[in-house]
């Protein structure tokens, strides 16, 4: 069972990675200046009240003891409480992660949708119009900062053209009854077309922003792999035996390109799932990224740690799933 061994090894790796991530984040948040006890009791509180809070939170313990305590909590499914929102972090995340998943998924679909086909087509003919356009598009996608692009899109499409709705969260209408937590899907399920339109309109600009910035590198990679594949010996051989160009591209070249490109796309999606901090901030999107930013500003340890862990988890898990898929799809990994 090579697949089982493979997955087992990957899971061990996942645990090691999570241990490292949690340790680093824990230490970093603890050594940062700022005392959360004041946040809880207020700056006017007297010394003894602050001391009491510090003791109750265990902040007077040595850092390794605090870490051990935290990890025991995490493994029992408790990510601690947010001092800022007064909620258990798990509750806060359950509220916010669907927003991030919705944005990340929409962005990933758009990103893959434009960049991969474009990369394939532009690789077919050097110095063609599509090749030149791809150069420009990937260059821009790679070099434009996403927060800047987000602001520009807001300026143009909301402020000047009044084409897009105000960038204030996930919907301006009614929130559909929760099934998946994704407003677009939920309003579809509920058959609420008004809510669907509103949530799609809210989703459009941030998703497009991310699709442009993540699509740039994806386009570049796709085009590179496609060029390489089209120049390979087996493509030359297929051509030399009269295989038509359509089959050369779709049947002979594309699978060879999609294997590595799908890995890239999975990494991109994993990255988006961890919360797109800057874009969520610009569009006031109530997702994990914004939650993490707000918590950092408030020296709120537990949510920051949880957000980082979640981000690492989703990244590694998506990568793992893609890896397993490749293991099944790619004939070269079977023997």
């Amino acid at each position: 069972m090579p697949l089982a061994i493979y997955i087992g090894r990957r899971l061990v790796f996942l645990l090691v990675a999570l241990f490292g991530v949690s340790l680093i984040t824990f230490v970093v948040t603890r050594v940062l200046p700022g005392n959360p006890a004041y946040l809880i009791v207020g700056v006017q509180a007297d010394e003894s009240t602050v001391e009491a809070v510090i003791e109750r939170l265990g902040l007077d313990e040595p850092i390794h003891a605090q870490y051990g305590h935290y990890m025991r909590q995490v493994f029992s499914g408790d990510l601690g409480d947010s001092w800022r929102t007064k909620n258990p972090v798990t509750t806060d995340i359950a509220d916010r992660w669907p927003a991030t998943i919705e944005l990340a998924s929409a962005a990933a679909i758009l990103s893959i949708g434009w960049s991969v086909p474009f990369g394939v087509v532009s690789a077919l003919r050097r110095r063609s119009l599509s090749d030149r356009l791809a150069n420009v598009a990937s260059g821009l996608g790679v070099s434009i900062p996403e927060f800047w692009l987000g602001i520009i899109l807001i300026l143009v499409f909301f402020f000047h053209l009044d084409f897009a709705p105000a960038p204030i969260g996930r919907t301006l209408g009614t929130v559909p009854p929760e099934v998946t937590g994704l407003y677009t899907l939920d309003s579809l399920i509920a058959g609420d077309w008004g809510a669907l339109r509103s949530s799609l309109a809210q989703l459009a600009l941030p998703a497009i922003t991310l699709a442009i910035t993540t699509g740039g590198p994806l386009l570049r990679v796709t085009r590179g792999f496609m060029r390489e594949t089209m120049a390979s010996h087996h493509i030359r051989s297929a051509r030399a035996l009269g295989v038509p160009e359509r089959s050369i591209v779709l049947r002979h070249a594309l699978p060879n390109v999609l294997l590595p490109v799908s890995t890239m796309a999975a990494l991109m999606y994993g990255y988006l799932l961890g919360g797109t901090v800057l874009v969520e901030f610009v569009f006031a999107w109530p997702g994990i990224g914004k939650y993490a930013i707000d918590s950092i500003a408030a020296s709120d340890y537990a949510p920051v740690l949880a957000a980082v862990l979640l981000s690492a988890c989703s990244y590694i898990l998506v990568y793992l799933i893609m890896d397993i898929l490749h293991f099944v799809i790619d004939p070269r990994t079977r023997t």
Binding site: H233, G242, H252
Partner: protein, 339 residues
């Protein structure tokens, strides 16, 4: 045509009397000149007036050192010149049909149909993510009316014919599961799948060990003969030409230096380049390895003198008075004023 007679140094000069005679050659390349760059900005002219005829059922070796234009000639025949290269003049006829200027559609039908090719490095020549049988079956489908099932059955049959054990099961395998020798057998099966009149084998044994190379070459010769097809064997090794081909064409710097029956050409080379090549491959008795001094000239423009003049031990002033014509001499054609 007896396939077993292949590795024989005294191959019969049977088809020799042919040029201009009764049967039209399967492949007739005349004055083929190929250049890189456009007419206004010519960067190089790597093929300068190639003449090459392969008769029906004949095995022709195309011999020359690296950079002499052997593979480019094959690419031109297939209509698959690399980007930036174009045919400046000349003609390529396959079964009497002019290929220069033929439509891409027509060329595609001929490639893998009437003419087929197998390359060196067979493992790289097969697609890593498609099954070996599937790739052969596709070529069969492209060139005929066979359906999926039928083409698959034919692919399996071909693999078995090429000596692949368990062909039905192996057809479902991928190229990484094939050894180099097995992959070359599969490539041969694919190339012969549509019964071509001409098989071009471009250094088919490069990268295979000596015994395997011999086996594969014998298989190629045998299977081509079985189909009454012609073989154009591209090789840098004149010894390979000697043991497998009835006729040999020697190329140097984008030109044909000498062409004729292999036995007489290697026994009594008329062109000093052929002689030097034979010497370099140790087919002539000698103590030390012989190397031809100097390098192949870069063909930036059309030559004005014999391309080999700079390296030729017999060169004289007359060799500099223009490019020597490829003229008929006894049983062959030679491009040398001294011959």
């Amino acid at each position: 045509m007896s396939p077993a007679a292949a590795p024989d140094a005294t191959a019969p000069p049977a088809v020799d009397a042919q040029p201009g005679a009764a049967a039209a050659p399967v492949l007739d390349v005349a004055d083929l000149t190929v250049g890189f760059g456009s007419a206004a900005k010519r960067r190089s002219i790597p093929l300068q007036g190639i003449h090459l005829q392969v008769a029906a059922g004949e095995r022709m070796a195309l011999v020359g050192e690296s950079g002499s234009g052997k593979s480019l000639t094959a690419a031109a025949v297939l209509g698959l010149l690399p980007e930036g290269a174009e045919v400046i003049r000349g003609s390529i006829r396959l079964d009497g049909e002019e290929l220069i200027g033929a439509s891409e559609r027509r060329l595609r039908a001929l490639r893998g149909g009437s003419m087929a090719i197998m390359f060196q490095n067979p493992r790289a020549s097969l697609n890593p993510v498609l099954t070996v049988g599937g790739q052969i079956a596709e070529v069969i489908r492209v060139h005929g009316s066979a359906g999926r099932k039928e083409s698959w059955a034919q692919a399996v049959e071909l693999l078995a014919e090429m000596g692949i054990p368990n062909a039905a099961r192996r057809a479902k395998d991928y190229v990484h599961q094939f050894s180099g020798g097995m992959a070359q057998r599969a490539a041969l099966a694919m190339a012969l799948s549509c019964r071509p009149d001409l098989l071009i084998a471009d250094e088919p044994t490069t990268g295979l060990d000596a015994t395997l190379a011999q086996q594969v070459l014998e298989l190629v010769v045998e299977r081509v003969a079985m189909r009454d097809a012609s073989l154009l064997l591209i090789t840098h090794d004149i010894a390979v030409a000697r043991s497998h081909c009835e006729r040999t064409t020697v190329m140097y710097a984008g030109r044909v230096m000498e062409s004729g029956p292999t036995a007489s050409l290697t026994g009594d080379p008329k062109n000093p380049y052929t002689a030097a090549l034979l010497k370099a491959f140790g087919t002539v008795d000698q103590r030390r390895m012989y190397a031809i001094g100097g390098v192949v000239p870069t063909l930036l423009g059309e030559l004005a003198e014999c391309a080999f003049a700079d390296r030729c031990p017999q060169a004289g002033p007359e060799c500099r008075d223009g490019v020597p014509e490829l003229r008929r001499l006894e049983d062959r054609r030679v491009a040398c004023v001294k011959a």
